[in-house]
């Protein structure tokens, strides 16, 4: 019987496992399906990680190494090349690997940190043929940076999120011709710094409010037809451009990978596509916690680390208290998304658990200029946070002081209002 089994050895799982160890759990197992720890960071060879957490700018593998090194100093066991096939409501974890065969392990607590997968061409139904040469940006990144193979010579990218922008630069440095980046929204989903250092630096055109309306090519991609779209995001007739390309990269969204979560009957949030979590990252299943991209897709790994440390600490607390004697559902205040807010994590806060304050992550549903974030308790405004700019591609973080979450409050609503704050 393990104190804790952590599912996924990327930045989330690494941070959770280290923290749980630090907080006193002794029998911890980290299960990772790939042959190395580090998760997706291993293929993120660009820099930009750790500015918040380490106050240094690191590349993905360097950031991962900090936590891998930390983990190696603990007694946490790791199972690499191991797939978790199932977790049950009574915290059995079914794993399979070449070296250990099929095992059914029992755990007093579980941390889910399986990360996310990429949205595919099939999921967005781009019309046309289905030739070779269509990749999600992350899959292409793996081929290039881990396996050492090029995916194409003349490349079009759909989606201006960071992964797409980063790959535009990467492919250019590897000698491919980047024809354009095509983005359906009127603004880019990626960081502005990436627009500069990935597109502008290499004179790669960015077409906002455009999308791919047809893929052509018999066995390999030959052309992509791109059209401008209107406010309804539908193609505007007469605006077609044809690109002669042999490769299309898709950077059209990430989806938390919650196959195991759903199978265990854990409550899901349709807004985040992740589990509903409490302030300490506990899910609806007592003793099962979730953190990182599997809960909601993050932009900065630094926040993944913070969130995951919280989950690891909570798992340790849960086990050391002998399972949760206080019950999970008592007096949890739901957080609602008000105007301008797509979702919040956590979705529920238990005032007696948060100490001095509760951190809330959320995303806005469109670009905002000068605005302020408002927290209301049962309709009454209780806190305001000014911001210069808000964008869907940049997850926001506010801290709700505990005194705002008095007993008797039935709901907290987070919303955005544009304009200057009146004093």
């Amino acid at each position: 019987m393990y104190d804790l089994i952590v599912i996924g050895g990327g930045p989330a799982g690494l941070a959770a496992a280290c923290e749980a160890w630090k907080k006193g759990l002794k029998k911890i197992l980290l299960v990772e399906r790939d042959r190395d720890l580090g998760g997706i960071l291993n293929q993120c060879i660009h820099s930009g990680f750790g500015l918040h957490y380490f106050k240094e700018e690191l590349t993905g593998p360097e950031y991962a190494a900090r936590f891998i090194d930390l983990l190696r100093k603990t007694g946490v066991e790791t199972s690499l090349d191991t797939m978790v096939l199932q977790i049950t409501p009574d915290r059995e974890v079914h794993t399979v690997s070449r070296q250990d065969g099929y095992r059914i392990l029992k755990a007093k607590s579980i941390v889910l940190s399986m990360g996310c997968r990429e949205r595919t061409r099939g999921a967005i139904s781009i019309p046309g043929t289905r030739p070779a040469g269509i990749f999600t940006a992350g899959a292409a990144q793996r081929y290039l940076n881990i396996e050492g193979y090029m995916v194409g010579r003349r490349v079009l990218i759909l989606g201006s999120g960071d992964i797409g922008l980063i790959m535009a630069r990467r492919l250019t440095l590897e000698g491919a011709k980047m024809l354009a980046c095509v983005e359906i929204m009127p603004y880019s989903g990626g960081l502005r710094r990436n627009l500069v250092q990935c597109l502008q630096d290499f004179h790669i055109p960015l077409y906002l409010s455009h999308t791919i309306t047809e893929i052509r090519g018999k066995n390999r991609v030959e052309q992509a037809v791109v059209s401008k779209v209107g406010p309804d995001r539908r193609p505007i007739p007469g605006t077609r451009m044809t690109f002669d390309c042999d490769t299309i990269l898709l950077s059209v969204g990430l989806i938390p990978e919650n196959e195991l979560t759903r199978q265990a009957g854990i409550r899901m949030d349709p807004r985040t596509h992740g589990a509903v979590v409490y302030e300490n990252m506990e899910t609806s299943l007592p003793g099962v916690f979730a953190c990182g991209n599997v809960v909601h897709v993050h932009d900065l790994v630094d926040f993944v680390t913070e969130e995951s440390r919280r989950a690891g600490a909570a798992a340790a607390d849960y086990v050391l208290r002998g399972g949760d004697g206080r019950g999970t559902g008592s007096s949890a205040i739901p957080l609602k998304n008000g105007t301008g807010v797509s979702y919040t994590v956590p979705q529920k806060i238990r005032p007696d658990r948060i100490g001095k304050a509760a951190g809330v992550f959320f995303r806005v549903n469109r670009v905002y200029g000068k605005s302020f974030i408002r927290a209301s308790a049962d309709g009454k405004p209780v806190a305001r946070y000014p911001r210069e700019r808000l964008a869907p591609g940049e997850m926001e973080h506010i801290v709700l002081p505990a005194k705002l979450l008095k007993t008797g409050v039935r709901e907290i609503r987070i919303s955005v209002e544009e304009g200057e704050m009146e004093n």
Binding site: H94, Q99, D100, S125, R130, G148, K218
Partner: protein, 483 residues
């Protein structure tokens, strides 16, 4: 010199080969692509129809019903995924109700068992997610869903195991009459056979015209489909049809053998010769989505994991073309095999062999015919069975496809079958790796690595599907031995 040369290894060619391989008859199969089941057979509704739809008295009607019986047994014998879900043809109007009654009568005439006409209450009781506008339906309990490519593979593998010779990448370019039969030139090589079966699908007209005077036209009909995530797989339990109207046959919604939902098709006539145009279109997909919602209003297309199109070989005749070509004795056309072709396949094969026999083909039943195909499906095993399997063979412990839980052991096993895969999609068709919601995002690089290793080719020579569909274009900079 072979007794029979079959041109095309889709479901019809494979069924013919399977049937022939039961007899002491030497059989050659010439497949133009690098794999079997790579044309219409892999891109259709995957439905084994009950048989009320074809006109009574036609070959379609007779062979549909026969094929429907034969399929169940063959799928069981050859371990082909098959589920007898039953089907409903929904009626939404007076006209539809009349159509349903007609189909019922037709079905009975065709010998379809178990048919009944249900009222709205009964229909909604069976299928609560249907539109409340439904007035009634024809219920056919014998309709089934199948894996069409695995069906074709199983038939072809069994044929090869029993002595049939399969040549892939064998595109037929010339057919000459010789004293004992025919000389077929395929990809530059000559093959000789006493009898020839033309099962070339969308290319059946071109192949026919190599041997005989033109006698039919193949009219390619393209149909587009959506596959929805397994989360939607229980939206309906049966195949849900709509009544044919002047717009066409209507759009179906059905569970797949794998637990997904398939929605489609539309029906678009393509230009002659455009049989390989399997592109999907914005308008086609929009039509399918809109029309399907008439049956199942709550369909959530945000759960789409894939869309595709398949081209059926309809013809300018009203029925299956199962006949010897005029002026080419011993050359048998199995052409224009549109719906219910998949269902009728084994019956078409039996009929075809009968015609050849009348034509002089001597057939003696083999005593050592083996039809014992079995496939290990890791995902379907119990935990105890999984544990035992991995202990015996650790390659079953390495999960390659996360979404469908497919292991390296299964991939290695399929490389040892009589018709091993030569592409990533070939692996997909055999073991399901890449069929899930991530559509090969996770398993893709791993399957490429395994194929590269097992086929002894560098990763940038691994194909996605057909010849020329290379996935990678060389090593990254400084990769050593840059291609």
């Amino acid at each position: 010199m072979f007794d029979v040369g079959i041109i095309g290894c889709g479901i019809i060619g494979a069924a013919a080969a399977f049937e022939l391989s039961k007899y002491r008859v030497s059989t050659l199969i010439l497949e133009g692509e690098n794999d079997v089941a790579d044309g219409t057979t892999k891109a259709n509704s995957a439905i084994l129809h009950a048989g009320y739809d074809p006109e009574p008295g036609t070959l379609m009607a007779k062979l549909n019903v026969e094929g429907s019986f034969l399929a169940e047994r063959i799928c069981r014998d050859l371990d082909v995924p098959y589920r007898k879900t039953g089907s409903l043809v929904l009626a939404f109007s007076d006209r539809d109700c009349e159509t349903v009654e007609n189909l019922y009568r037709r079905g009975k005439q065709n010998g379809v068992p178990g048919l009944s006409v249900l009222n709205a209450e009964q229909v909604l009781g069976m299928e609560p997610n249907l539109s409340l506008k439904v007035r009634g339906a024809l219920y056919a309990p014998t309709a089934a869903v199948v894996s069409p490519w695995e069906y074709c593979l199983a038939l072809a593998e069994t044929a090869v195991e029993n002595g049939a010779v399969l040549r892939r990448d064998a595109r037929v370019t010339k057919i000459e009459r010789i004293p004992e039969g025919y000389r077929i030139t395929a990809s530059g090589r000559p093959y000789e056979a006493r009898y020839v079966i033309n099962a070339a699908g969308v290319h059946a007209e071109e192949v026919h015209n190599l041997a005989a005077a033109p006698s039919f036209h193949i009219i390619p009909m393209r149909g587009e489909y959506f596959i929805l995530d397994k989360s939607e797989g229980r939206t309906v339990s049966r195949v849900i049809f709509q009544c044919p109207t002047e717009r066409g046959k209507g759009v179906l919604v059905a569970p797949t053998v794998g637990g997904n939902l398939i929605v489609g098709p539309n029906a678009e006539q393509l230009d002659r010769g455009a049989g390989e145009n399997t592109a999907t279109t914005a308008s086609g997909m929009a039509f399918v989505a809109k029309t399907a919602k008439e049956s199942v209003p709550g369909l959530d297309f945000r759960q789409t994991i894939r869309s595709f199109a398949g081209v059926r070989a309809a013809s300018d005749r009203d029925d299956f073309i199962i006949e010897q070509a005029k002026g080419a004795p011993g050359f048998l056309d199995l052409a224009g095999i549109r719906s219910p072709g998949l269902t009728a396949a084994p019956a078409i094969a039996e009929t075809a062999i009968g015609i050849l026999e009348e034509s002089g083909l001597k057939r003696e039943k083999k005593t050592d015919f083996r039809a014992r195909r079995r496939r290990i499906r890791f995902a379907d095993l119990s935990p105890e069975e999984k544990a035992r399997l991995v202990k015996e063979d650790p390659s079953y412990g390495r999960v390659i496809c996360r979404c469908e839980t497919v292991t390296e052991g299964e991939i290695l096993a399929c490389m040892k079958t009589p018709i091993p895969p030569c592409s990533v999609d070939g692996v997909k068709r055999r073991v399901n790796a890449g069929m899930g919601r991530c559509q090969g995002g996770f398993c893709g690089p791993r399957v490429v690595e395994i194929l590269s290793r097992e086929l002894h080719i560098p990763p940038d020579r691994v194909l996605k599907d057909k010849d020329g569909s290379y996935i990678l274009t060389g090593k990254t900079r400084g990769g050593g031995g840059n291609v």
